[in-house]
């Protein structure tokens, strides 16, 4: 399967991935309309200390700690993609406690959690990948020589 990989040496720290992620998960409409005056709550996080910067989103682990920890059985792995059933999720945050990479976050209202699901639910290529201006975020087959 294809996964998202991040190449720190090409990350500009521009944070565009975060905005495009937020927009894609709000329905992929006009970004200005969707995000104007709004605090975004993206599923990808850019870490930046002025020296190093890179983006982090779900690694789609083959043995996800989040899935094992989920108290409601809301997290499953479907064709290699770690997904949250927001209908089953009760927002207990145990997955946030468990994810070693910090890639699950409460949704905007805090009632359930959200995470990167590779934009499968948005009907597009991962928005962070397609809008990264420097190919720091790539969507490729796992474990194949580049």
């Amino acid at each position: 399967m294809r996964k998202i990989f991040v190449r720190e040496e090409w990350c500009l720290g521009c944070h565009l991935c975060e905005y495009h992620c937020a927009n894609a998960n709000l329905g992929n409409g006009d970004m200005a309309k969707a995000l104007k005056g709004r605090r975004i709550n993206p599923r990808i996080t850019v870490e930046d200390d002025g020296r190093i910067c890179f983006a982090v989103s779900c690694r789609h682990c083959t043995e996800p700690d989040c899935k094992k920890s989920c108290i409601s059985g809301a997290i499953s792995v479907v064709d290699g993609v770690v997904q949250v059933d927001q209908d089953k999720c009760v927002g207990c945050y145990t997955c946030i406690l468990a994810c070693p990479y910090g890639t699950i976050q409460p949704n905007a209202e805090g009632h359930v959690v959200q995470k990167c699901e590779l934009c499968l639910q948005n009907g597009c290529e991962p928005a962070c990948v397609s809008h990264c201006p420097n190919r720091a975020i790539i969507y490729e087959q796992e474990g194949v020589s580049a």
Binding site: C14, H15, L16, M31, A32, L35, K36, P133, N134
Partner: protein, 500 residues
């Protein structure tokens, strides 16, 4: 303080579209954008803007545009806004004005006044998608007589040549004037395309030796980064006598840019100013040049063709004739519109002549003297499109050099601020966080796209002319006609006026 100097550009932000994502702020190395936490909105600082379009390009909601200021002096055809502005700047600083990239002045462009021919009825056009179209080019001395051995087999007596898949190369830009990633992009693209790029006078970084067969290594007046391995590494050695953007003067890489790998590659002390003198201190005649040509040939085991690069100046034809007799295999001529990472404005804008005229007069002169086949002719200095390229070849060039066009493909937006060293596109800078903005994977891909597109266009035009090999286009001035030119201009170019 920049007394009397008003910002040239204004940052226009569509507040309806701006989502205050701060991408513009993060991306502007000139700090032309800021965020006001109290109002939660963005601010623009016009005086810092160089109009490089980095913010405009990356703005996710397309909320930005940069416009030329409408603020003006009382209209005056003699004292233009720019003339007054430059005067104020000099009165402020007492310094020589510095500029980058090519001459922006509205001087005549002869390529734009030359039109190309196409076949009709007789000698019908050729469809390049159906029939082979040869663009392969060899640069070097061609005047060696054919000789056969005892069994009638051809004796391989050809002197070293540069083999190119098409008559195009990336011209000299040093590592130092441009970034490591810009160099990596050029090197990878040249290799993939089967053409050459040029180190400029910055030496060759160790990591790029593997692209050697597609590299032209340069020897210039500062002799930076030159050693035997370097001379052996490339496909050819270029002696730089002059540059179109700044004929008659040398170069200066400030110490703050000449650091780390850049300084190491140049073999200069870290942090020292890298100054290339105006002349080569050992060259005061064609005979002196010949000595350098041969010492380089011998050092390289007579395996590398030698290019001598000169700027297009008034006596270019006579100079080229001398160069052809110096033992050089290739002469490169750089026109007055050629780019630079930094040059005194007055020199960039007022010294030298257009490449079209220089090329035509050199080709004519060498033909007249019967030495045209002794040397290949490469021209550069603002070859902007396949049309310019094709016209240059028909005027007599064996190949063209492009650099500004290549930089545009890498993201350059011609803000002409290279000399500041804060290139937001990661090209003309050594600041690590800016350099990383140019991913050579993308850079090389875009360069390959550009050159392949031009090659397609070359083939289309050749096909239209009924020509199936670039050899038959070369110096074929019958394929050119001038429009709106004087008799003298037509005479120098060696072409007829349209309609005649």
């Amino acid at each position: 303080m920049e007394l009397y100097v008003h910002p040239e550009f204004e940052i226009v932000r569509n507040e309806k579209k701006c989502i205050a994502c701060r991408v513009c702020e993060r991306q502007c190395a000139n700090c032309a954008h800021g965020y006001d936490a109290d109002s939660g909105s963005m601010e623009g600082y016009d005086e810092k803007c160089v109009n490089c379009h980095r913010c405009v390009t990356l703005c996710p909601t397309k909320a930005l545009k940069i416009v030329q200021t409408a603020h003006t002096f009382r209209p005056n055809a003699n004292w233009s806004n720019n003339t007054i502005r430059e005067l104020y700047l000099q009165a402020n600083t007492g310094g020589v004005l510095l500029s980058s990239m090519g001459n922006p002045r509205p001087l005549p462009n002869y390529f734009d006044r030359i039109l190309l021919n196409a076949s009709q009825v007789t000698n019908p056009p050729i469809d390049p998608l159906r029939e082979p179209m040869e663009t392969r080019t060899y640069l070097g001395k061609k005047s060696i007589p054919l000789q056969r051995g005892a069994a009638g087999k051809l004796i391989e007596n050809l002197t070293p040549q540069i083999a190119l898949t098409m008559p195009l190369m990336f011209s000299a830009m040093s590592y130092g004037s441009i970034s490591y990633n810009a160099h990596a992009s050029l090197a990878r693209a040249a290799t993939e395309l089967g053409i050459c790029y040029n180190t400029g006078e910055g030496g060759l970084h160790r990591a790029f030796y593997r692209y050697g067969s597609n590299t032209i290594v340069q020897v210039a007046s500062g002799r930076f980064g030159i050693h035997t391995d370097y001379l052996m590494a490339g496909a050819a050695v270029e002696i730089k006598m002059g540059q179109g953007a700044k004929p008659g003067i040398g170069g200066h890489l400030p110490g703050k840019k000449n650091v780390g790998e850049v300084a190491r590659t140049r073999m200069t002390p870290d942090g020292s100013d890298a100054i290339s003198p105006a002349p080569h201190h050992d060259i005061y005649s064609i005979e002196d040049l010949r000595q350098l040509v041969y010492s380089l040939k011998e050092t390289a085991g007579n395996s590398k063709p030698i290019i001598v690069k000169i700027a297009a100046v008034h006596n270019v034809a006579a100079i080229a004739s001398g160069v052809a007799r110096s033992g050089a295999d290739i002469i490169a001529i750089d026109g007055f519109r050629g780019g630079t990472g930094a040059a005194p404005t007055r020199i960039r804008d007022h010294v030298g002549i257009p490449i079209e005229l220089a090329l035509a007069s050199v080709d004519t002169r060498l033909r007249e003297e019967g030495i045209r086949d002794d040397i290949s002719l490469v021209v550069g200095g603002s070859i902007r499109s396949a049309a310019d390229w094709i016209k240059a070849i028909a005027l007599g060039a064996d190949a063209c050099y492009i650099a500004t066009g290549a930089l545009l493909a890498l993201g350059c937006h011609l803000c002409r601020s290279c000399h500041i060293g804060l290139c937001n596109w990661g090209i003309a800078t050594q600041r690590a966080d800016l350099v990383k903005r140019l991913n050579p994977e993308i850079g090389a891909e875009r360069l390959v796209n550009l050159v392949k597109a031009w090659q397609h266009e070359l083939k289309e035009v050749m096909g239209g002319m009924g020509i199936n090999s670039v050899e038959a286009l070369r110096g074929n001035r019958l394929m050119l006609r001038g429009v709106g030119m004087t008799q003298e201009e037509l005479r120098v170019l060696g072409i007829e006026h349209a309609g005649s």
